[in-house]
Symmetry: C2
Subunit: 441 residues, 2 copies
């Protein structure tokens, strides 16, 4: 007999099926034993009442892996469990096979919420990942990644695979991991930025899901040392506004897909996807700081960036004024953006750059890039770097690069933000930070 997923048992009342999974919880009442069996589709109540099965059933413990054949029956209406997709049925067991035992668990996994601290949850990641309050986070993450690809493919973007071993720090700066590369030195890529730009010559429109590494010497709720970047880049643009438009489509596609495909998960997490307006508001940084001053009296008008409290305030402004939980802030100062960012010809101290602020925090960043070779070389020098170290990158511009731009955002962080998770580590299967590479390090 082939295996049936527990959720498909709903349509098999009166029939014999075989299910397999983990014992999610276990209740023994003398001559009858109940378990909730967990498989990737959900939970199912199984009743062991046949005398020949009772002894084996009483030995079961949480997280043992079992295979059970039995008859699907409808529960009496007063025993329906409305919180469960399979809440109207139960399986009357006719056989029991133990596929694997589990040792004593370090904490009680049978509750709807895991009542342990995040470090404990991470120390026992192979166990805690299975929990119905944890596994769905990664279902949402998968939907986000798929949606990113689907929207961009519909816009004729190609997917590409770039290396993460690089000869020099992508964005400059010290927060880069060094790798012993035979007799030489290499680094872990801080972003696929240079390669997605270079590859425009082959693809014109390209995206990648790329591991990126930041040697952040601090532990915060928003940073990982390794994360997945969702990166896109497009050539032959008329203006940076085209790049914003594509980023907006990608983000709206994600909201739509998560809302459609993971409605039950959003409900379980007590959240909704962010509200959007018919057009996502756009505002220059200078204007944003002025508005914040008008609204709060807090004067950040000479600041080159939004402080966290400014991001929150501009988020409130967007929600109140436009009914939008997302807003693009544009025109960050040249000196605060990477050397490849395109200066606005009308005010060269500002760039044609943008951040997407979602629910009061930064979600996504992008810009038009400098595509003129001489201008780029000059900026590399101005930023204190040696153009010789960027030889491969610069070739792309030396041999003809069209006007172009792009954007990127973090897969873990957008998962965190949509689900309202407190810590970005919750949105990473196996998070890495300064203190943690699994538990063995």
């Amino acid at each position: 007999m082939g295996r049936t997923l527990v959720v498909d048992g709903i349509n098999q009342i009166g029939q014999k099926i075989k299910v397999s999974g983990w014992v999610n919880s276990f209740r023994s009442h003398g001559k009858i034993v109940f378990i909730d069996l967990r498989d990737r589709s959900g939970l199912l109540q199984i009743v062991f009442s046949k005398p020949e099965l009772i002894k084996g059933a009483k030995d079961l413990r949480n997280e043992w892996v079992v295979e059970v054949e039995g008859l699907v029956g409808e529960r009496p209406e007063k025993l329906w469990n409305k919180d469960l997709a399979t809440g109207k049925i139960e399986l009357d067991a006719e056989s029991l096979t133990v596929l694997a035992r589990a040792e004593e668990l370090p904490f009680d996994t049978a509750r709807p919420a895991l009542e342990v601290t995040l470090p404990t949850l991470l120390d026992y990641r192979p166990l805690s990942l299975r929990h119905p309050s944890v596994a769905p986070i990664f279902k949402v993450q998968e939907i986000i990644a798929d949606s990113f690809r689907t929207t961009l493919k519909s816009l004729d973007f190609a997917e590409a695979f770039f290396p993460t071993l690089v000869p020099t720090a992508t964005e400059g700066g010290a927060q880069v991991f060094h790798v012993d590369y035979f007799e030489k030195d290499a680094y872990l890529s801080q972003s696929p930025q240079f390669y997605k730009q270079i590859s425009l010559g082959a693809f014109e429109r390209v995206f990648t899901l790329a591991h990126a590494y930041r040697a952040e010497p601090s532990v915060t709720t928003r940073h990982l040392t390794e994360y997945v970047g969702l990166d896109a880049e497009m050539a032959f643009i008329e203006s940076y506004l085209e790049v914003i438009s594509v980023a907006d489509k990608v983000i709206r596609g994600i909201f739509k897909d998560v809302g459609t495909k993971a409605g039950d998960i959003l409900k379980a997490f007590g959240v909704t996807v962010p509200k959007t307006a018919s057009e996502t508001p756009k505002i220059k940084l200078r204007e944003a700081l002025e508005i914040i001053y008008q609204r709060t009296g807090r004067d950040s008008r000479n600041e080159p960036d939004l402080a966290p409290e400014d991001e929150r305030e501009i988020g409130r402004y967007a929600a109140e004024e436009f009914g939008s939980e997302i807003i693009f802030v544009t025109h960050y100062p040249t000196k605060k953006r990477p050397m490849y960012t395109y200066p606005d010809p009308e005010s060269p101290e500002e760039t044609q750059s943008f951040d997407l602020i979602g629910r009061g925090v930064e979600w996504l960043t992008g810009s038009r890039r400098i595509n003129n070779y001489e201008q780029l070389v000059s900026n590399i020098k101005k930023w204190g770097n040696d153009p010789a170290k960027f030889e491969t990158y610069l070739q792309a511009f030396k041999y003809g690069m069209p006007p172009e731009g792009g954007f990127c955002f973090g897969l873990e962080r957008i998962t965190q933000n949509i689900l309202g998770l407190e810590n970005v580590r919750q949105a990473s299967l196996f998070p890495r930070d300064m203190n943690r590479v699994d538990i063995t390090l």
Copy 2:
């Protein structure tokens, strides 16, 4: 006027369009200048004959980026270029805008084949990638990656994202890159093996496209130090044959999709997708070695593996006997496989492992895994490792792991093999080997 891709010009005869792209080739004949313009859709001949455009057109050089408005006209039949999708039309230019210049090129990019050595092609990757003999390789690569995902999603596999910074060498051995991780040591993952196994608790069926790193201290035509692994793992299997069956579906899906979506590219590369039989043949290693002995007199019957000449011979055997260019070889010796490989209960010195030999070389490898905690701990010790170093991995088994198995193959290598490329570096956008991390290292 919006941009039209050159291939769409075919349907716009008599109309005015705007195209943009790179000057792929250039011919000046006094009062008339021809260029082939290249964009992501293909090539288009553009004619500059208007006196006011001639001077600008004569300044053009290969790889300059231009935008041209003009009238689409049909060429006289005797001038049709049958090798080109746009070979029946040309654009009569009415305006010319130079978007970017290119400096003098290091080699002639205007020919259908790039007549430079592979090292030169790689030294100038930003330029050579654009070439019509190079860019399509990555179109095929994208189709392969998509097909892998699509087949597995249709079989209810989930996609997951695993870290590549790891606390210990995944497969043991010395060929691992060391990373300075703050005050500690970390390594670059040799494969997502452990994490895909661990995550079965959340997903049951999981796949990932994962960067993997091998510190191979040698330079061959088949190895990269960084590559993309296509990895799948599935729980609740009845037998290793289920794993083979899924691997077979994935590979056949790739052949089908590449054949359907990249027929023109296959033709240009002078290849076809591998022939398959209604059922892919399977043979145990011992039997394979016996057959090779019978066919060639070469006696490798006591060898624990197939030598390259044996792989080629068993490939010929599969083609001749079964009309199949792929064959599964199973039951490799326990001592030649990783410590987590499941021993065949009927002959424990053999494993329930398999390789897929395609066109006489290894394409894919997989096995059923040991899911019993005590057996796995015992094997880790037997292989000379310390179980304490595998604490996170072992938790997955300590707390209940169903019978499971999986497989993996390299994205670059399968691209190489399908397209018949001489060197795996040709199938990597920016290949890394012992001597090369771009050209700056």
